[in-house]
Symmetry: D2
Subunit: 250 residues, 4 copies
């Protein structure tokens, strides 16, 4: 299985590394051997590696958020600020059964798995077999293969599961699948979706009304500050927009 | 054990109810019997109750977020937007061991328990025995009594636990306990705190430097929209501030 | 002409007063005579008045923003944060000729007059004669009667003026008047509008395309902080939304 | 006097140009002659120029905001969103007398001049003669030379003017000059300052208390949207921070 690491130099600069046998990493402070990094991850040596220029780097096991924000992006990612809030408003917990459609980059799949593991299940639907490989890799790297089941399936024909606790629609036109979503959810179960445009929110609000209740629309903004005690201030630029979260209840 | 419900009228207006035998609830649409609500929660009748005026209300089991935002407030609450993000950046998961100090209103205790249950543990420290009763009630109501252990203890003397995966300081002057926090954390373990003022952030940045690395400061803003498809727009007022999240690594 | 004052007690609490001969003002710190306040405004006595309980209040001449935010509201107000930015992006200055439709509460009329006075002109159109009285009062109270000309007119039939430097549409369905606006503007002249909903922005974007260039959409958020040096932090609540600013060029 | 233009291609892409005799401008759509642009600005030809590849560009006279955001930056600029709001809260208008210190890049000088022209005056103080050249150029380019008077002077020794209506301090340590500012202002006159860090705000709040009243702290956030009717959404990135506005009254 692929290993990942975050290495950090003395000034706090971090690099995300997909560790591969025999490879080397070129940094501004010299060359590092992937094999040295792997030995730290495996616990064989202590927590640092040294470049050929003598610079010491700390080797850190990536958190789930580090992994999900830094792994190869072949598809839209989902930001932790949004994912975290969605998990809470879906009302899920360890043991919950959740449907996701589509699997996409596997990022949200992983967040959902984190919330329901180890007793719960994420049923992740994807229409394209080729997309699924990326999602599978991401979920596996995060250690949640046992919690997630993938299905290559056109959900226009309905979901294989029902009475699920929650359902996350990660699709361009989620309104096309509201009936299928309704049928798969248990009474009181929550639906959530994340869409980039106001036009999509308007269409969701319009078309969810006949089936769903308790509809809510949110946006989460993350403001990062420069961590300097003498000059505390927000960073010069920030992510201006990721998406609108829409949530409803059967 | 106390039961809680959210009841919702036909127009979507919700009321949070602490259900007590024999009591009645006065609403704009007539009087409801708590015992009727209890029967729905227990699954004895279907999902609605009817007021003495014939108005039907849906009875919903509260999600954790509903419970934590609506239960009696004897202390500062923590908002889901902040709690959710803190859980992710702490890098915890089912099975993690986490320290919290102080227990406060038990809200963050519950969020931490949600993230690490059912194999993990939250060790929640509180200096005041009387405060602890509130926290215990909240944790119990949310169903996490088995995941949380409370300790009445002055943490100036250090924590009872060590090698923990993460530590959350919910104190006015968290900098007074950085050494104790450092000693309790495992290498690479994460510390987080949530403070209302910029002055506290400045002090935290200043005093955490000798011990901690990877210090980050965040603010999470939640923007709610009116869920009306013909007139999509943010709500007129929003929560302007809850707190600054500061995170660091041993 | 009606006089206005802002009075401030020792603790910084402010009250906006429409000063009327013979009247009294009841405050938490005693009763004040309007005539005493008037004497301060007229410069006959120094800057304070004293209540019947002996409490001293400072008397301040209101700024334009104080006046516009506090005068009787018979219609939607416009916030300084939005008005100020609109003035700059319209590209106007002392001497510019600007059309406004409709006059509404006269708030934006006054801001426009402030920007183009004393050599410029604001031509303010309103379909309802009765609305105009409010706008006239507001403009007069702010001292801009000479800069503003009001017209009771249905702008569906076009504006009386042309070759104007800028045009502000304060209407529910501004898109119905884009052709009239286009005809009234000079080449390169700017159009701006402020609308509360995303649906309106979408319609404006859609229908302004054939006529206008350089279309931009903005939102201005104002965050207020508690001015306490020991505990600097944003206020607990903030205005979540006023409107979307849309600007374009002929 | 230097001429400036904004040229815009068919797709709406804009370039800010400092027009110089004999020069050429290289664009993705061919080469343009500055002299052709100058002729449009002078009104000798109509509003477009054509590149050597036959591409047509519209030539626009820059608004003040275009000029101030695009002219050569040898110093910190001030954003329109902040400048506009400061002008309103200072309570100034055509005819007001305003002090500014320091002159800096001349951006705020120009905004102040815009607000008080043509009957008012901006007295702009700067300790460094060399900085002043930049400010003078900016003010002149915007057409406000007659409204602004510059002074090379160390304001630690006090200002030359008094009884001014408002005063803007654009300095790293504004608190060092609060007494001088107080002496220069008329009773009820407003002071404003714009500082990047929370530490500075804290110091200003702390040290302004003995002299000033009505202290307020603001932050203005500008959110830009993509102007596409089918996919309305905020832009991906936004300016995360410019500064905190602090305002007070003598």
């Amino acid at each position: 299985m692929t290993k990942f690491a975050v290495i950090e130099d003395k000034r706090g600069k971090r690099i995300f590394v997909e560790v591969m046998p025999g490879r080397v990493l070129h940094t501004h402070r010299g060359i590092l051997k992937h094999d040295d990094i792997a030995r730290v991850l495996d616990g064989e040596t202590d927590g640092t590696v040294v470049s050929h220029l003598g610079e010491e780097f700390e080797v850190l096991k990536p958190r789930m958020v580090d992994l999900l924000m830094n792994m190869q992006r072949r598809s839209q990612i989902i930001y932790p600020k949004d994912a975290a809030y969605i998990l809470l408003i879906l009302g899920i917990e360890n043991g919950s059964r959740v449907i996701e459609a589509g699997a996409g980059s596997g990022r949200m799949t992983t967040y959902l798995a984190w919330a329901v593991a180890d007793k719960g299940k994420v049923y992740s639907y994807e229409i394209r077999e080729d997309m699924l490989q990326v999602a599978r890799d991401v979920v596996k790297s995060a250690g949640y293969s046992e919690t997630v089941e993938f299905f290559v399936h056109n959900i226009a024909n309905g979901f294989y599961h029902n009475e699920v606790d929650a359902l996350f629609l990660d699709l361009k036109e989620p309104w096309n699948y509201f009936e299928q979503a309704y049928n798969a959810l248990k009474k009181g179960g929550r639906l959530a979706t994340l869409v980039p445009t106001a036009n999509q929110v308007i269409k969701i609000l319009d078309l969810s009304k006949p089936l769903f209740k308790g509809i809510e629309v949110f946006e989460i903004l993350l403001r990062e500050y420069k961590p300097i005690s003498e000059r505390l201030r927000p960073k010069d630029t920030m992510v201006g927009h990721t998406g609108y979260i829409v949530s409803a209840r059967k």
